[in-house]
Amino acid sequence: MSTSLFTITDKPISIEEVVQKVIRPEAGAVTTFIGTVREFTNGKRTLFLQYEAYVSMAEKILEQIGNEISERWPEAKVAITHRIGRLDISDIAVVIAVSTPHRKDAYEANQYAIERIKQIVPIWKKEHWEDGTEWVGNQLETKAYPTGKPEGEDLA
Protein backbone atom coordinates (compact mmCIF):
# COMPACT_ATOMS: atom_id res chain seq x y z
CA MET A 1 0.00 0.00 0.00
CA SER A 2 0.99 3.61 -0.46
CA THR A 3 1.60 5.69 2.64
CA SER A 4 0.61 8.81 0.72
CA LEU A 5 -2.67 10.41 1.71
CA PHE A 6 -3.79 10.76 -1.92
CA THR A 7 -3.30 7.73 -4.09
CA ILE A 8 -4.36 6.09 -7.33
CA THR A 9 -3.92 2.32 -7.30
CA ASP A 10 -4.66 -0.65 -9.55
CA LYS A 11 -5.00 -2.97 -6.53
CA PRO A 12 -8.05 -3.63 -4.31
CA ILE A 13 -8.43 -0.91 -1.68
CA SER A 14 -8.25 -1.74 2.01
CA ILE A 15 -10.72 0.45 3.90
CA GLU A 16 -8.81 -0.10 7.15
CA GLU A 17 -5.59 1.17 5.61
CA VAL A 18 -7.16 4.38 4.36
CA VAL A 19 -8.87 4.95 7.70
CA GLN A 20 -5.63 4.33 9.61
CA LYS A 21 -4.03 7.23 7.74
CA VAL A 22 -6.39 9.72 9.40
CA ILE A 23 -6.97 8.24 12.87
CA ARG A 24 -5.20 10.35 15.50
CA PRO A 25 -5.55 11.10 19.22
CA GLU A 26 -7.13 14.52 18.71
CA ALA A 27 -9.86 13.25 16.38
CA GLY A 28 -12.92 11.49 17.75
CA ALA A 29 -14.81 11.11 14.48
CA VAL A 30 -13.89 9.50 11.20
CA THR A 31 -16.27 9.36 8.26
CA THR A 32 -15.63 7.34 5.17
CA PHE A 33 -17.22 7.32 1.78
CA ILE A 34 -16.86 4.06 -0.09
CA GLY A 35 -17.91 4.08 -3.72
CA THR A 36 -18.77 0.63 -5.03
CA VAL A 37 -19.68 -0.61 -8.50
CA ARG A 38 -23.46 -0.69 -8.82
CA GLU A 39 -25.03 -3.42 -10.93
CA PHE A 40 -27.93 -1.40 -12.33
CA THR A 41 -27.91 2.21 -13.52
CA ASN A 42 -31.21 3.53 -14.84
CA GLY A 43 -32.41 -0.07 -15.18
CA LYS A 44 -29.45 -1.18 -17.30
CA ARG A 45 -27.17 -3.96 -16.06
CA THR A 46 -23.47 -3.30 -15.74
CA LEU A 47 -21.19 -6.32 -16.15
CA PHE A 48 -18.04 -4.55 -15.03
CA LEU A 49 -16.31 -1.17 -15.22
CA GLN A 50 -12.96 -0.07 -16.52
CA TYR A 51 -11.47 2.95 -14.78
CA GLU A 52 -8.71 5.00 -16.34
CA ALA A 53 -6.83 7.93 -14.85
CA TYR A 54 -4.28 10.55 -15.72
CA VAL A 55 -2.49 9.15 -12.70
CA SER A 56 0.13 11.78 -11.89
CA MET A 57 -2.31 14.65 -12.29
CA ALA A 58 -5.13 12.81 -10.52
CA GLU A 59 -2.98 12.39 -7.42
CA LYS A 60 -2.10 16.09 -7.53
CA ILE A 61 -5.74 17.08 -7.83
CA LEU A 62 -6.72 14.78 -4.97
CA GLU A 63 -4.11 16.59 -2.91
CA GLN A 64 -5.54 19.91 -4.03
CA ILE A 65 -8.96 18.76 -2.78
CA GLY A 66 -7.28 17.93 0.52
CA ASN A 67 -5.94 21.48 0.64
CA GLU A 68 -9.37 22.93 -0.13
CA ILE A 69 -10.76 20.92 2.77
CA SER A 70 -8.02 22.16 5.10
CA GLU A 71 -8.98 25.73 4.26
CA ARG A 72 -12.66 25.14 4.99
CA TRP A 73 -12.27 22.67 7.88
CA PRO A 74 -8.84 23.42 9.40
CA GLU A 75 -9.04 20.56 11.90
CA ALA A 76 -9.84 17.90 9.29
CA LYS A 77 -7.38 15.29 8.05
CA VAL A 78 -8.20 13.61 4.74
CA ALA A 79 -7.01 10.51 2.87
CA ILE A 80 -8.31 9.40 -0.51
CA THR A 81 -7.52 6.27 -2.52
CA HIS A 82 -9.05 5.68 -5.95
CA ARG A 83 -8.71 2.41 -7.82
CA ILE A 84 -8.32 2.07 -11.59
CA GLY A 85 -8.43 -0.88 -13.97
CA ARG A 86 -11.19 -3.46 -14.18
CA LEU A 87 -13.71 -3.44 -11.33
CA ASP A 88 -16.52 -5.94 -10.90
CA ILE A 89 -19.91 -5.43 -9.28
CA SER A 90 -19.56 -4.34 -5.61
CA ASP A 91 -15.82 -3.76 -5.95
CA ILE A 92 -14.61 -0.62 -4.20
CA ALA A 93 -13.65 2.20 -6.58
CA VAL A 94 -12.87 4.92 -4.06
CA VAL A 95 -12.41 5.35 -0.32
CA ILE A 96 -12.43 8.80 1.26
CA ALA A 97 -11.61 9.01 4.98
CA VAL A 98 -11.91 12.24 6.98
CA SER A 99 -11.10 12.61 10.65
CA THR A 100 -12.10 15.61 12.73
CA PRO A 101 -12.48 16.37 16.43
CA HIS A 102 -16.25 16.78 15.92
CA ARG A 103 -18.49 14.65 13.80
CA LYS A 104 -20.50 17.24 11.90
CA ASP A 105 -17.34 18.48 10.18
CA ALA A 106 -16.36 14.92 9.30
CA TYR A 107 -19.59 14.40 7.35
CA GLU A 108 -19.48 17.77 5.62
CA ALA A 109 -15.83 17.59 4.61
CA ASN A 110 -16.28 14.04 3.35
CA GLN A 111 -19.24 14.97 1.18
CA TYR A 112 -17.30 17.94 -0.14
CA ALA A 113 -14.49 15.58 -1.16
CA ILE A 114 -16.65 13.23 -3.22
CA GLU A 115 -18.42 16.11 -4.95
CA ARG A 116 -15.07 17.62 -5.93
CA ILE A 117 -13.72 14.26 -7.10
CA LYS A 118 -16.67 13.97 -9.46
CA GLN A 119 -15.99 17.47 -10.76
CA ILE A 120 -12.27 17.80 -11.30
CA VAL A 121 -10.20 14.64 -10.80
CA PRO A 122 -9.05 13.23 -14.17
CA ILE A 123 -10.49 9.73 -13.83
CA TRP A 124 -12.92 8.16 -16.28
CA LYS A 125 -14.99 5.03 -16.26
CA LYS A 126 -16.14 2.87 -19.12
CA GLU A 127 -19.30 0.89 -18.60
CA HIS A 128 -19.33 -2.64 -19.94
CA TRP A 129 -22.93 -3.65 -20.62
CA GLU A 130 -24.26 -6.86 -22.04
CA ASP A 131 -24.66 -5.17 -25.41
CA GLY A 132 -21.62 -2.93 -25.63
CA THR A 133 -19.43 -0.41 -23.90
CA GLU A 134 -19.75 3.28 -23.12
CA TRP A 135 -17.48 5.90 -21.65
CA VAL A 136 -19.43 7.73 -18.97
CA GLY A 137 -19.36 11.20 -20.28
CA ASN A 138 -20.16 13.78 -17.66
CA GLN A 139 -19.69 14.44 -13.99
CA LEU A 140 -23.23 13.60 -12.98
CA GLU A 141 -23.10 10.10 -14.43
CA THR A 142 -26.35 10.65 -16.26
CA LYS A 143 -25.06 10.73 -19.80
CA ALA A 144 -23.26 8.20 -21.91
CA TYR A 145 -22.03 8.39 -25.46
CA PRO A 146 -23.02 5.19 -27.28
CA THR A 147 -20.74 5.98 -30.19
CA GLY A 148 -17.86 6.65 -27.89
CA LYS A 149 -18.06 10.40 -28.57
CA PRO A 150 -20.40 13.21 -27.57
CA GLU A 151 -23.13 13.69 -30.11
CA GLY A 152 -26.48 15.41 -30.61
CA GLU A 153 -27.30 18.11 -28.13
CA ASP A 154 -24.03 17.62 -26.29
CA LEU A 155 -22.32 18.92 -29.40
CA ALA A 156 -24.64 21.91 -29.64
Binding site: W124, V136, G137
Partner: protein, 76 residues
Amino acid sequence: MITLLFFSYLKEAVGNEQIKMEYTPITVKQLKQQLETNYGLDLQHVMVAVNEEYAQEGQLLQPGDTIAFIPPVSGG
Protein backbone atom coordinates in the same frame (compact mmCIF):
# COMPACT_ATOMS: atom_id res chain seq x y z
CA MET B 1 8.26 19.85 -29.16
CA ILE B 2 5.07 19.58 -27.18
CA THR B 3 3.35 16.41 -25.97
CA LEU B 4 -0.40 15.88 -26.26
CA LEU B 5 -2.21 13.34 -24.04
CA PHE B 6 -5.65 11.91 -24.71
CA PHE B 7 -7.93 10.00 -22.34
CA SER B 8 -11.25 8.19 -22.27
CA TYR B 9 -13.20 8.37 -25.55
CA LEU B 10 -10.76 10.94 -26.95
CA LYS B 11 -7.97 8.40 -26.83
CA GLU B 12 -10.12 6.02 -28.87
CA ALA B 13 -11.20 8.76 -31.28
CA VAL B 14 -7.64 9.96 -31.89
CA GLY B 15 -6.34 6.40 -31.89
CA ASN B 16 -3.44 7.38 -29.71
CA GLU B 17 -2.74 8.06 -26.07
CA GLN B 18 0.12 10.42 -26.83
CA ILE B 19 1.16 12.59 -29.76
CA LYS B 20 4.35 14.61 -30.10
CA MET B 21 4.12 17.84 -32.10
CA GLU B 22 6.52 20.52 -33.25
CA TYR B 23 6.24 23.57 -31.00
CA THR B 24 4.61 26.66 -32.43
CA PRO B 25 3.64 29.64 -30.25
CA ILE B 26 -0.12 29.11 -30.08
CA THR B 27 -2.71 29.26 -27.30
CA VAL B 28 -4.64 26.37 -25.76
CA LYS B 29 -7.68 27.53 -27.71
CA GLN B 30 -5.83 27.54 -31.02
CA LEU B 31 -4.48 24.06 -30.36
CA LYS B 32 -8.00 22.80 -29.62
CA GLN B 33 -9.30 24.29 -32.88
CA GLN B 34 -6.44 22.70 -34.78
CA LEU B 35 -7.25 19.26 -33.32
CA GLU B 36 -10.97 19.68 -33.94
CA THR B 37 -10.21 20.29 -37.62
CA ASN B 38 -7.57 17.58 -38.01
CA TYR B 39 -9.36 14.81 -36.09
CA GLY B 40 -13.02 15.75 -36.38
CA LEU B 41 -13.29 16.02 -32.61
CA ASP B 42 -15.61 18.14 -30.51
CA LEU B 43 -13.57 19.61 -27.68
CA GLN B 44 -16.14 22.09 -26.43
CA HIS B 45 -16.69 20.28 -23.10
CA VAL B 46 -13.11 19.09 -22.84
CA MET B 47 -10.87 20.72 -20.28
CA VAL B 48 -7.19 21.16 -20.94
CA ALA B 49 -4.34 20.68 -18.49
CA VAL B 50 -0.90 22.04 -19.21
CA ASN B 51 1.83 20.29 -17.24
CA GLU B 52 -0.82 18.71 -14.98
CA GLU B 53 -2.59 21.96 -14.13
CA TYR B 54 -5.91 23.04 -15.56
CA ALA B 55 -5.32 25.82 -18.08
CA GLN B 56 -7.33 28.72 -19.44
CA GLU B 57 -8.12 28.83 -23.15
CA GLY B 58 -5.93 31.88 -23.60
CA GLN B 59 -2.78 30.35 -22.14
CA LEU B 60 0.19 30.46 -24.52
CA LEU B 61 1.98 27.15 -24.91
CA GLN B 62 5.69 26.86 -24.16
CA PRO B 63 8.25 24.48 -25.68
CA GLY B 64 8.28 21.19 -23.75
CA ASP B 65 4.72 21.58 -22.45
CA THR B 66 2.58 18.49 -21.88
CA ILE B 67 -1.00 19.24 -22.87
CA ALA B 68 -3.67 16.83 -21.64
CA PHE B 69 -7.20 16.78 -23.00
CA ILE B 70 -9.58 15.97 -20.17
CA PRO B 71 -13.10 14.90 -21.12
CA PRO B 72 -15.78 15.34 -18.46
CA VAL B 73 -14.53 13.17 -15.62
CA SER B 74 -16.44 10.26 -14.11
CA GLY B 75 -14.42 9.02 -11.16
CA GLY B 76 -15.78 8.33 -7.71
